[in-house]
Subunit: 460 residues, 2 copies
Amino acid sequence: MKNVPYRLYLTEEQMPKQWYNLRADMKEQPDPMLNPATLKPICKEELYPIFCRELAHQELDAETRYVDIPEEIRQMYRVYRPSPLIRAYNLEKELGTPAKIYYKFEGNNTSGSHKLNSAIAQAYYAKKEGMKGLTTETGAGQWGTALSEACAYFNLPLTVFMVKASYEQKPYRKAVMQTFGAEVIASPSNQTQVGRAILANDPNTTGSLGCAISEAIERAVSSDGYRYVLGSVLNQVLLHQSIIGLESKTAMELLDEYPDIIIGCAGGGSNLGGLIAPFMQDKLLGKANPYFIAVEPASCPSMTRGRYAYDYCDTGKVTPMARMYTLGSGFIPSANHAGGLRYHGMSPIVSKLYHDGYLDEARAVEQTKVFEAATLFSRVETILPAPESSHAIRVAIDEALKCKETGEQKTILFGLTGTGYFDMTAYAAYHEHRMTDYIPTDEDLQRGFDALPNVPGAQE
Amino acid sequence: MKNVPYRLYLTEEQMPKQWYNLRADMKEQPDPMLNPATLKPICKEELYPIFCRELAHQELDAETRYVDIPEEIRQMYRVYRPSPLIRAYNLEKELGTPAKIYYKFEGNNTSGSHKLNSAIAQAYYAKKEGMKGLTTETGAGQWGTALSEACAYFNLPLTVFMVKASYEQKPYRKAVMQTFGAEVIASPSNQTQVGRAILANDPNTTGSLGCAISEAIERAVSSDGYRYVLGSVLNQVLLHQSIIGLESKTAMELLDEYPDIIIGCAGGGSNLGGLIAPFMQDKLLGKANPYFIAVEPASCPSMTRGRYAYDYCDTGKVTPMARMYTLGSGFIPSANHAGGLRYHGMSPIVSKLYHDGYLDEARAVEQTKVFEAATLFSRVETILPAPESSHAIRVAIDEALKCKETGEQKTILFGLTGTGYFDMTAYAAYHEHRMTDYIPTDEDLQRGFDALPNVPGAQE
C-alpha cells in the first residue's frame, strides 16, 4: 500500500466529469412514484408544474448510466471542490484500533455540508430554463443555506420555508440565508393554505420537514415561473450527490485502497445514496462486496422500524406517493431530538436497495451516544462535525472498536457530511448533561402506520 | 503561465518543514522589549514566568533564520493543512478586471481562522515543558477557539478571558470553546485584581483585548505551572504564522506566478506578518519588489493614525513595553465596531517594517465598505468571510478595480484568514442597514497618546 497522506485532494483533472445514475445498474427498479388520485405511475408531464424539465427528466430516467455534468456546474464545483478524503490517523491512534479509517469531508463550504452539490445543479437547470425563482424547505438549515448560496450565484430569487423549531433555535442559519439574499419564512406559516390548516389543527406545532415541503410546493405551483426544489430523497438528488462517492472511489484507488465497510448517516438518503453509489455498482456487478451501513437516529427510525410502503413525501399530502421506508407522513420526532435526520421517509432508491439486501444494514443510534462520538472526534480530528454526520462517526468508531477486539485491519470509509457551527445549542446541551434520548414506543409508531395511504399489494 | 486550477493544495511533501524567522533578514531589528521598571531590554529569564522556555527563546531569537517545525506539530498541521491557494476566477469575472486575484484561505478548520497555526505550536511547547495549563484572552473568539482546539488535542487545561462584548454577542463561540473543554470567563471579571480595578473604574465597560490580556497574565503568573499565551503581536506568533506565506509562495511557484501586490488585514499583525514573511525576504534581499498593503479598520487605525512608540501590550500595564504603532493601551474602538482587528497596537516586526518603508502602505477602511465587499465575495466565491478577512477583500477588490481602469494585469495575493459563521449578528446589521461607521476624532486619539509611557528618544 502507498504512503497515505492525512488529506488527499484530487486535482481538477481527476475530478468526475459525469454523475453516476445507480438505477441503471439496479437489478430491480424502485417502485414508481404514483399519482395519488389514480394510483398510476406518474409521468414526466405531471412533474413539470413542480420541477423544471431537465430535473423531471432526471427524476424518472432509470436508463442513462452516466450523465454529463454541465460545464457551468463543474465550474462552480471547482470553487469549493474537490472535498478531501481524510485518513483519520489521529482517531485511529486515540481508539487504538488496527482498522484504517477514512472519511470524505463535505463540510468545506459555506453551507457547511454536501447539500451544495445538488443545490448548484438544481439552481443551474432552473436558471437555464428561464425560471423566475425557486421555493424550498429546510430543517436544520443546511439545505436552505446551500440553495441560498447556489441561487445567489445564479442570481435567482428564493423563498425558504424553514421548520419553525429551527427558525427559532438557529437565527444565525437564517442570517446566512438572508446574506445570500433568500426570503426565509417559519413553517408552518399563515402564508399558505396548507400552513394555515396545520396551524388550525395544532397552533403550537414546532413544524416538520413534511409540513414545510407542503408549503414550499404550494407556493411554487401558485407562483408564475416558480419551481420547487428538494435537497434529499429524490432520485435526481442522489444522481447529483454521486459526486461524493465518485471522488471517494477515485481517491481510494490512488491510494490502492478499497473499503470493507462504508458508513453513511441517513435522513432522506442524499449523502448515503451519493457516497455509496459507485461502490454499490461494484456490488451489483459482482466486482466487490463492501458492507454498507446506514445510520439513523433512534428517535426517527425510518429504516430500522418503519414500513416499506407507499406514502406521501409531505405532511400536507400534496406530493406524489413514493414507495419507501416510512414512519408516516405525519411523523414528527420528539421535541428533545437535536440536529437533522428528521424526515419521516427515506429515498426510494436507498429503500429499495435496503429492502433487497444490497444495503446490508441499517442501525439506529441514540443522540447522547452521537454527541459523545462527535466530541471525541472534534478533539482529535479538529473538525467540529454536524450532528447528522456524527451518526456516521458513532458507527465508524464502534466498528473500529470491534476491529480492536478481533484484531482485524478493516478499511472503513464514512461520509462526514458537514460541520456543526450552527448546532452549538445542541452541543451545549450535551456538555451540560441536559440532553436526553427518546426512543418512540411501538404505539407512537403505530399511529403513523395507521395513517398510511392504502395502495393494494404494496404496503409491507 | 501554467493552467491555474481554482484551488491548489500542496502535497504533504511540498509542505514546509521549517518556519521562517523574518528578523534574521531585517536590515535593522525592531526595538527591543523593555522592562518598564528599568527601561532596559528584557532578557529571556524575565520572560520565563510568563512564557514557556522555548517560546521565550523564540521571542528573543533574531538570528535563527529557519526553525525546524517539530514532528508533533507537523502531524497536527497535516490534519487540517495544507490550506488552499485559491484563484478567484469568479470574483475576477464579477469585477471584469484583468487582474489575477489569488487568496490563501486559512478558514478550513474548526477555529475558522489562521490562529490555529500558532495555537498548536504554543500548546505543544507548553505540554512538552510539563506545564499544568494555559491562560489566554480572546476578542472575536477566533484565537480562543483555536487554542481550545489545540489544548484539547494536547490534553492541557485552558482558561480563556473573553472580551465581554464578544462573550455576550457570541454565545456559540463560547460553546465551541467549552466543547473543546476550555473554561471561558467574561472580561473584565471580578476574578483578578486588574479586572476588579477596571470594573471599579468603569462598571459598564464592554471590555477590550488589552484588558483581557492583563487578566490572563495575572491568572497565569499567580497559578502554579501555568503559562500565558497570546495569539498575535508577538515575534513567536509571526514565526509560526510564516507557514501561511511559505505555503503561498511554494504554491505560486508551482503556478509560475509571483504577486505584484500582497494584501493582509492587520489587527495585531499575526496573519499579515505570516503571509508576507517569505515575500518580504525577497524584498529585503533585493530579489523581488512586491507591493505590500496592510489593511485596518478606520475605527481602530493603529498604523494609519497611531504613534510609533513604546507602549504596554495590555490595558493593565503588566506586560513589558514594546515599540510599535499604537493608539495607547487604553484605546477601545467605538461600540458600533463589529468583528475583530480591535487591538490598540501592532506587531513590533510589522511596525518596524512599516516604519522603515519595506511594508509599503497601510490603509484604513470603513466597516460598511468591508461588509459590502464580504457580501459580494460570499456570493461569487461561496465562502462566507470573517469580517477581519473582509478588510483584505475590500482592498483586493479596490486594487482589482484600479487594474480594470488602467488595463494592467497585476497579480494580487491576499490572505483570507477565516470564516464568518460566528459573525452573523454583524452581517445581519449590515443587511438590515443598521450598521454605521465611526472614525475616531483627533481628540479621541490624543487621549490615548497622552497616556503613552515616557521612554526618552523613542516616542514619535
